[in-house]
Amino acid sequence: MMRTPIVEAARLVFRRDLTLAWRRWDEVAQPLIFYVVVTTMFPLATTPDLTQLRVISGGVVWVAALLASLLALEALFRADVEDGTTEQWVLSGQPLGWLLLAKVAAHWVLTGLPLVIMSPIVGTALGLPYGAWGTLMLSLLLGTATLSVLGGIGAALTVGVRRGSVLLSLLVLPLAMPLLIFGARAVGMAMDGESPAGPLQLLAAIFFLALSLGPLAMSAAIRISVEN
């Protein structure tokens, strides 16, 4: 029996998810709207003064991005587990980790990437200076990508659980704290004129760690959720 090469299979999964999302793109827009809403809460809760907001702008943008990403993660595997697609993947004999990674990648393109692109706008609304835009976007690029992998593991573990979204956040957020520390700090350093290379490199290192070990954990978790 001819078997599809894994790269081709992964690409098919990736395209399929993007196509499906294209048809329901209001779901894609929701995390973005949440992002803006949450960011708006901070000036309302503290002060309209941009010079004061500037101090916390990097952190607030980061926290809002993490929360918005988490919102979208709960449903990552649900549809495919419910209709049996995931079971087919497990049975297919293809390396499961790659297929799941393709799904996570598609998810990131649909949620994480838009957050990254919107971040300068949201940051500027909080007084973030133009000079920090690059660091903000690069740190969020790495951070949201890592969070997608971590969230993928959490989503795979909680896929059958009732009201799994709260549990998912509870599981993933503590693991994501280092991302927040390094990412927000990188933005802070860029705002102060220092080189943010250190924390950015650490973010990159964590991302590659997640990329290499994440699929393993995800496939183990999915197998548990799918097997009866």
Binding site: L150, I153, L157, T158, V161, R162, G164, L167, L170, L171, L173, P174, L175, M177, P178, I181, F182, R185, L202, I206, L213, A217, A220, A221, I224, S225
Partner: protein, 242 residues
């Protein structure tokens, strides 16, 4: 040697052994804890800088140590359960979690109490306390995930994945939090770090750590017996046991 190991993994055998071991752990733990408490409260002299408040170290540091130890033990047991498919290893992970979580809570509470006389606030975002707080979140998440499954086998395997992912994260969390606290001018010198103290003043600390470890052993024995029973479907040996 492998026969011993395999025997240990057999539920009826383990159940009996744990029942026999528990009193040994329990009584020696009590002895060590009482001696350590007396030594720490009475015999040890007050600290040069912190006075008698320093004695809180003798309960805070061992709690913090146990919180870390219990988490690593839990993750190791979970990993063994996943790799070698040994049910009793999963049971050990489940049994250890609430014990570890309680020590984490204690470390946080005693650390907070110690902070008040030292720098005037009930809470401070220093590296040690913040790491302990995140560790508590990891424990709570683990226990929450476990309780969300009805099927104990699924609960075992899912929480094992979480524990292993968590334990890999623990050094990352520690390093990042430590790095984070060094960044800001206002960071208080963390007096929760053991100051350079003379060896005689460390004795109650070591005694308490040993006491807590033994107590953990006792609690683990008792809880593990319960977890073994919960996972056993074959009634035959259960009849003899009860």
């Amino acid at each position: 040697m492998w026969t011993w190991f395999h025997k240990l993994a057999s539920p009826p055998h383990a159940y009996r052994m744990l029942g026999k071991m528990a009193p040994w752990f329990g009584w020696t733990a009590l002895a060590f804890i009482l001696v350590a408490a007396w030594w720490g409260l009475v015999k040890a002299p007050p600290d040069y800088q912190q006075g008698d408040a320093f004695r809180i170290l003798y309960v805070h540091a061992p709690s913090a140590w146990m919180s870390m130890f219990a988490y690593v033990a839990m993750a190791a047991a979970a990993a063994i359960g996943v790799v070698w498919r040994i049910k009793i290893a999963h049971a050990a992970a489940a049994a250890g979690a609430p014990i570890g979580a309680s020590f984490t809570f204690l470390a946080l509470a005693t650390g907070s109490i110690w902070g008040k006389p030292m720098w005037g606030t009930w809470w401070v975002w220093d590296a040690r306390l913040t790491s302990e707080l995140l560790l508590l979140f990891l424990y709570l998440g683990y226990m929450a995930l476990r309780s969300s499954f009805d099927d104990p086998q699924r609960a075992d395997r899912a929480s094992a994945v979480l524990a292993i992912v968590g334990v890999i994260n623990v050094p990352i969390i520690h390093y990042s939090v430590k790095w984070w606290t060094t960044l800001h001018q206002a960071a208080s010198v963390t007096k929760l770090d053991k100051p350079s103290i003379a060896l005689p003043m460390l004795i109650p600390l070591f005694l308490m750590i040993i006491g807590f470890q033994l107590y953990y052993g006792w609690a683990l024995c008792r809880r593990l017996r319960g977890e073994i029973l919960r996972r056993e479907r074959n009634a035959a040996w259960l009849k003899e046991a009860s």
